[in-house]
């Protein structure tokens, strides 16, 4: 299941639409990093509202995406982690240290715009 990635000016928005297998997550990582390089994007939003579970693999992959994109000088925000998913992550011992998160797409965009304004 491929995750659509939308270009919105200097930002990219990836909206996950259904549960993802490990292979799907790795495909998302590749596609996002390729697009950030291709479009010279300043920021990326990954919308995980539709994810039913964020296990150790999903969490690590999202952290990897953020780290690679940061090395390109761009910011990543993960938006839409569901409350019960967040609870399960904490119980499991997973953290998203160093990864920006926001409630929803709107707040994620606001976060990226703020960061962009500070950098110009």
């Amino acid at each position: 299941m491929e995750v659509p990635i939308l270009k919105q000016g200097r930002f990219l928005i990836a909206t996950i639409q259904a549960a993802l297998s490990d292979a799907d997550l790795l495909q998302l990582r590749r596609a996002l990093i390729d697009k950030v390089i291709h479009f010279r994007s300043h920021g990326v939003i990954v919308d995980v509202t539709a994810l039913d579970v964020m296990d150790s693999f999903a969490t690590r992959t999202l952290r990897d995406i953020t780290n690679v994109i940061r090395l390109r000088g761009a910011d990543t925000v993960i938006v839409g982690i569901q409350p019960e998913v967040a609870f399960a992550m904490v119980q499991l011992g997973l953290t998203m240290e160093g990864v920006a998160t926001a409630l929803d797409l709107e707040e994620g965009l606001a976060h990226l715009q703020q960061r962009a304004a500070r950098n110009t």
């Binding site: 579970v53 119980q91 011992g93």
Partner: protein, 135 residues
């Protein structure tokens, strides 16, 4: 509510991990677990199924509803004939990993559930049994 039918998911690839946790969530929901607990159960299944794919390549996850005189719950058994675990105390320690993963698989799964048991023998395989009860 009647006890739902037993479910067996054979685990051979990462796609089966998703299938197993989705089946587990729907079984948990049909037993009467609320969304939060159903997500904890689905997450635990995801981790156990991933261990099978990573360490044993193949195995199975069996799930069934259980009912006692005073409680209802779900039992999940993840079984493989893989390399087994040499030291169980080691893998139950937070931060331990042999695959370069995050190293919090099994202790984390234990925290997600009410009961946790593991049996393993080198070269014979590993069986992990977890339970959660309706509160």
């Amino acid at each position: 509510m009647p006890v739902p039918q037993d479910i067996l998911v054979s685990i051979r690839s990462d796609v089966d991990i998703v299938l197993a946790r989705q089946q587990g969530r729907s079984m948990a929901t049909s037993i009467g677990f609320a969304a939060t607990d159903a997500t904890l159960i689905a997450t635990a299944i995801s981790e156990l199924a991933r261990n099978i794919v990573t360490y044993a390549q193949q195995g199975e996850v069996a799930m069934r509803g259980v009912e006692t005189s005073h409680s209802k719950g779900i039992v999940i058994v993840a079984r493989d004939n893989g390399p087994g675990i040499r030291s169980i105390p080691d893998v139950l320690r937070d931060g331990y990993s042999t695959s370069g993963g995050l190293g919090l698989g099994l202790p984390g799964v234990k925290r997600l559930m009410d009961e946790f048991a593991i049996e393993s023998e080198p070269r014979r395989g590993t069986t992990v049994t977890i339970r959660k009860w309706l509160k």
